[in-house]
């Protein structure tokens, strides 16, 4: 039989994974009730799926609905399972794979604390101006800059050594300081020297564009 020719696999001889992984953004509309976030992230950990980033907030106050925007990296087959498993959760109204539906607008926010005085401070201000980043807070020894993530990765990472420095706690504070209206929680990702906080979620306008009201339950 053909079985003899195939290599033995993992625990249950599941077929060796041949599909490539893809990064998808899922938009999950849920009842805003206690424990709903735990249900969703618990499902991911229980079934071995990976969360790349997660944002959750109440989006329709009157109907007590929240939207969880979750970025996952998985194979196409697993992505289908993730969507179906999420839909099994009782408080989940609807799951949209924004990447598959192809009409999503997405922005990520970067908040950077740059420590330094004198020449470093002047250079920071010049760069911020050049790349249209905003100075959102300042102390005698540091500046806080708001930009989008791509600009940070492309430009600000070229700062001379020592010009940027901040601890994780600063990233936390910066993020909470910059929480979106009505308490959006962004994932914190100190992806360079612990100094950069990142909050991600689709812009509010994308929701209206993506989900015509009649689609909502």
């Amino acid at each position: 039989m053909n079985a003899n020719l195939l290599p033995t696999g993992s625990a249950y001889f599941l077929t060796k994974e041949t599909q490539e992984t893809e990064k998808h953004t899922l938009s999950v509309l849920v009842d805003n009730e206690p424990g709903i976030l735990a249900r969703v992230v618990g499902l991911f950990s229980a079934r071995g799926y990976n969360i790349d980033s997660l944002t959750v907030s109440e989006t329709e106050h009157n109907r007590r609905l929240s939207r969880i925007t979750v970025v996952v990296v998985a194979t196409p087959k697993t992505l289908v399972q993730i969507k179906l498993q999420l839909e099994r959760l009782v408080p989940v109204h609807r799951v949209h794979d924004l990447t598959a539906e192809g009409i999503a607008l997405e922005r990520e926010l970067a908040l950077i604390k740059v420590a330094g005085t004198g020449e470093h401070r002047a250079e920071t201000l010049r760069l911020a101006d050049a790349f249209r980043a905003q100075i959102v807070d300042a102390t005698v020894e540091s500046l806080r800059i708001r930009s989008d993530r791509q600009a940070v990765q492309d430009r600000f990472l070229h700062f001379p050594d020592g010009a940027v420095g901040a601890g994780g706690s600063c990233a936390d504070r910066a993020c909470s300081y910059f929480a979106w209206p009505r308490g959006h929680v962004g994932r914190l990702d100190a992806f360079w020297t612990g100094g950069i906080a990142r909050a991600s979620r689709p812009l509010p306008c994308s929701r209206a564009a993506l989900l015509p009201l009649e689609l909502l339950p």
Binding site: M1, T8, G42, A46
Partner: protein, 593 residues
């Protein structure tokens, strides 16, 4: 609403719990009191519409409720206290989730003011049970309680059934509020809407495949049982209409009558040769309410390589989870079967006997292998023989069978035969040793006049043995038929198969004297070790009006065969005449479970 009725509807949270249970038609609940549950217990004391069965351990309560639910189609209801009461219920909740059994489990909780303070008998019940329930609730306000009570029953019993936990803090049980009974027939949930009717075009595509198939097989599962007795009727009708062979998973036994000529027996790891080979060689597999579990598929990449697969399931996430479905149909098994029959009839009224005659000829050859055969003995009772005799002695009676988990469970599935659904209660998905005894108690509560037998092993039965006391208290004449081989037989078999017969902790030492134990509990004990006296001993057990522990001493080292070892395809099944099973599996296979 008039002032009078408004007054009538004012009650405490504890009274609401009882009122909602009554409104749901609940007659029995299984539970164990404790500090945080006292207000609900007080409300139970002051009514007699619902009978409370006092268990000896909360795990027992959950399995009783499972047996009750599985044998009636209604939700089983459990009531336990906070902390250890809730944690002890976790095994049964997980079992019910895996086997899709409708349970409503009410757990008491410390007062809301103490939640999070590590109070006495506090635990994070909703946190702990989140992953082992279909849904769970923490009721923080008494005004939410009536809605949640009724919603819980809706969620537990509809769609793919499962356990629902309602965690009720003690102050909410005391709080006064207004009880309103919703319109139960039209109760709908904002986000939970199971799909019941299958897609018409998909069903039509499935029927088209059925009309062209040359080697078809129906592969049915627990979903047919969960869909209700009508689904089993429809399955029988469709099988007759088409003339196709039928096999079933462990959970689906009884949906199709074992006496029918088209029945191939159970499939899977310990299924019959003909069922597994038919699955492997078919050109059309019609899966109705089964989920391609690993005990069924064996090695997935060699599973039924040349067939088209139709998959009917009420849970969309089951479809193409393990095996790709060529024709996926999301819907209730009963309704989809009914629609299949209607469409099939609209195309032809003839069974396809001629077209599939060569297929049946092939199946007859596989049947001739007699894969369930065993060498009987005059000197020692063979476990298969014991079950065969038990079946002969009880087949004309109204009999319900429960089992524990292990070799005896598989032998019972192979050698006890079922004609009707809801007669077979076993722990399939989770494989919970200790399920059978309490499950039999639950079944007997639901069917007081029926014959209820737990086919058990001496190791499993000791895990929940204390529930014999419950059976005695409520005069429930369950029969516990222990196949005692002084081994954890399935573990021992795997050690023979995979670990050079090094029997690490797979034997039962210091076993209790089961006869004396039965008497100590207030039941009857019977022991039998002589094949010649077996029938008489079984008759004695059946004649006794009360709980019986039957200690049937059987062959110690019998293997449960046929067997498809983990990681092997269906056509590499080990048959009963295999002398040395220790030489079959290579190094790589040893890592499997």
């Amino acid at each position: 609403m008039t002032e009078q009725t408004s007054q009538d509807n004012q009650m405490t949270g504890a009274e609401m719990v009882v009122r909602a249970l009554i409104d749901q038609g609940v007659e029995h609940i299984f539970g164990y009191p404790g500090g945080a549950a006292l207000p609900i217990y007080d409300a139970i004391f002051q009514q007699d519409a619902i009978q409370h069965i006092l268990v000896r351990h909360e795990q027992g309560a959950t399995h009783m409720a499972e047996g009750y639910a599985r044998s009636t189609g209604k939700a089983g209801v459990v009531l336990v206290t906070s902390g250890p009461g809730a944690t002890n219920a976790v095994t049964g909740l997980t079992d019910a989730l895996m086997d899709s059994i409708p349970l409503v489990c009410i757990t008491a909780q410390v007062p809301t003011t103490l939640i999070g303070s590590d109070a006495f008998q506090e635990c994070d019940t909703v946190g702990i049970t989140r992953s082992c329930t279909k849904h769970n609730y923490l009721v923080k306000n008494v005004t939410d309680l009536p809605r949640i009570m009724h919603e819980a029953f809706l969620i537990a019993t509809t769609g793919r059934p499962g356990p629902v936990v309602i965690d009720i803090p003690k102050d909410v049980q005391f709080a006064l509020g207004e009880y309103t009974k919703p319109d139960l027939d039209n109760l709908r949930h904002a986000s939970y809407r199971p799909r019941m009717d299958g897609d018409h075009a998909a069903i039509e595509a499935a029927v088209d495949l059925m009309l062209r198939a040359e080697r078809p097989v129906f592969y049915t599962g627990g979903g047919v049982i969960n869909s209700g007795p009508e689904a089993s009727e429809h399955l029988r009708e469709l099988a007759e209409l088409t003339g196709f062979p039928v096999t079933s998973t462990l959970m689906g036994l009884g949906a199709f009558p074992a006496s029918n000529q088209q029945w191939l027996g159970m499939l899977g790891m310990h299924g019959t040769y003909e069922a597994n080979l038919a699955m492997h060689d078919c050109d059309l597999m019609i899966n109705i309410g089964a989920r391609f579990d690993d005990r069924i598929t064996g090695r997935v990449d060699a599973f039924s390589p040349n067939s088209r697969k139709v998959h009917v399931d009420i849970d969309p996430s089951s479809i193409s989870k393990v095996v790709h479905a060529d024709v996926p149909i999301v819907g209730d098994c009963g309704r989809v079967l009914e629609e299949m029959i209607r469409i099939y009839r609209s195309k032809t009224n003839e069974p396809r006997s001629e077209a599939i005659a060569p297929w049946w000829k092939q199946i007859a050859k596989w049947r001739a292998v007699n894969s369930l055969g065993f060498k009987n003995s005059d000197t020692v009772i063979k476990p298969q023989h014991a079950i065969a005799r038990l079946y002969q002695a009880t087949k004309d009676r109204d009999v319900y069978i429960t089992t524990e988990v292990g070799q005896h469970q598989m032998w019972a599935a192979q050698h006890f035969h079922f004609e009707k659904p809801n007669r077979w209660m076993t722990s399939g998905g989770l494989g919970t040793m200790g399920y059978g005894l309490p499950a039999s108690v639950g079944v007997q509560v639901a069917h007081p006049d029926a014959l209820v037998i737990d086919i058990a092993g001496e190791a499993s039965v000791q895990m929940t043995m204390q529930e014999l006391s419950t059976a005695v208290q409520y005069r429930l004449p369950v029969k516990i038929f222990i196949l005692n081989n002084e081994r954890m037989g399935m573990v021992r078999q795997w050690q023979d198969l995979l670990h050079g017969s090094r029997y690490a902790h797979s034997y039962s030492e210091s076993l209790p004297d089961f006869v004396k134990l039965a008497e100590a509990y207030g039941g009857k004990g019977i022991r039998c070790s002589d094949p010649a006296k077996l029938d008489a001993a079984i008759a004695e057990m059946l004649d006794y009006d009360g709980p019986v522990l039957f200690d049937c001493l059987v062959e110690k080292d019998e293997n449960c065969l046929p067997m498809i070892p983990s990681g092997k395809p269906h056509n590499e099944i080990i048959l009963p005449d295999t002398a040395n099973i220790g030489s079959i599996i290579d190094e790589k296979g040893r890592a499997l479970v």
